[in-house]
């Protein structure tokens, strides 16, 4: 299976995925170091990275726990950040369709912003599937190795902003969705969604603005009301 995934991917897509994995590994390094540096146990970043495997939620959880915040709030905040995974999984769920329950369970755990973004750049069902699994599994491995080294290695890298990695991630997403923005209505929907998220972000907990942005989809439907209502129902 692994060999056929690589063959389907091709070197270009494989290289792009590898680059994102490398960058994610470095962020994992900082996550491990920051968590241990904040006085939390050395196993915590590793456990979180294995069972939660969602960068933003992990950082928020640790930040709240390290500052002596309410544990329930830490979990709820992490869960709210991850709510976007529901619509994302729904949209790219075709990559897991027709597979055994076991594979769908495993495959679901690898659902991430990064592999969803790679999947939507591909039209061919086989390539979508290959991009999903390759990016998901490779990121899981790199992220966990990064966290492991960071947790034990201490303060090798704690400030990934110094390397501009915080700018690299939005740029990765932007480069991957840019071809989808070719279409007028999609552009309108995306712009409206981005504005909704930015305007609400100062007042709401992280994760909610991104969900509210989904209302931007309506802007892409234009004046076609019949279309809107039938689509909302289905």
């Amino acid at each position: 299976m692994v060999r056929s995934i690589w063959r389907t991917l091709g070197t270009e897509l494989a290289r792009d995925i590898a680059l994102v994995c490398l960058a994610d590994g470095v962020v994992g390094l900082s996550f491990g170091a920051i968590t241990v540096g904040a006085g939390l146990p050395v196993w915590l970043p590793m456990l979180l990275s294995l069972v939660v495997f969602a960068g933003a939620a992990q950082f928020m959880f640790v930040a709240i726990m390290a500052s002596g915040g309410n544990p329930v709030a830490a979990v709820v905040t992490g869960l709210i950040v991850n709510t976007r995974l529901i619509p994302m999984g729904f949209a790219v769920g075709d990559v897991l369709a027709g597979q055994s329950t076991f594979r769908r369970l495993i495959g679901s755990h690898f659902l991430l912003d990064e592999n969803v973004a790679f999947v939507i750049t591909q039209k061919d069902p086989q390539r979508r599937k290959a991009a999903y699994w390759a990016c998901g599994v490779a990121l899981f491995v790199c992220w966990n190795i990064g966290v492991l080294i960071g947790a034990f290695g201490g303060s090798i890298i704690t400030d990934t902003n110094a390397f501009g990695l915080d700018a690299a991630f939005p740029a990765v997403m932007l480069a991957l969705i840019l071809p989808s923005l070719n279409d007028g209505p999609v552009k309108r929907a995306a712009f409206t969604g981005a504005v909704i998220a930015l305007v609400t972000a100062p007042f709401l907990t992280a994760g909610v603005p991104v969900l509210l942005a989904l209302a931007g989809v309506l802007a892409g439907l234009g004046g076609d009301k019949a279309n809107k209502t039938s689509a909302a129902r289905s």
Partner: protein, 103 residues
């Protein structure tokens, strides 16, 4: 002990949300119109994710360096530059601006 429990609760909740999407999808028949709507919805989600992660830190403005890096990456991507170039240019722009004292 509490931290172990909390980690697993967060993990289980996150997994449930990950599993919900593909499972729901396999249960409903999706018309071509709804299919199209979903592909727009994903782009909208990413647009919102890009905008907030580029400009917002906590509940405030993330500073100049990060969005500047994202803009450089975005322009290069629009000019059809290779993915590697886009990513490295975005990171390098932000890193160099910070080195020069720009927040």
């Amino acid at each position: 002990m509490m931290l172990v429990a909390l980690s697993f609760i967060l993990g289980a909740g996150t997994f449930a949300m990950r599993f919900a999407g593909p499972s729901l999808r396999s249960r409903v028949r999706i018309s071509p119109k709804a299919e199209r709507l979903m592909s727009v919805a994903v782009v909208v989600l990413f647009a919102a994710l890009i905008a907030t992660s580029a400009l917002i830190e906590g509940h405030g403005f993330a500073g100049i360096a990060r969005p500047a890096g994202v803009v450089v990456g975005g322009v290069l991507a629009w000019r059809k530059a290779p993915f590697v170039v886009v990513v490295i240019a975005a990171a390098a722009t932000a890193a160099l601006l910070r080195l020069a004292g720009v927040p």
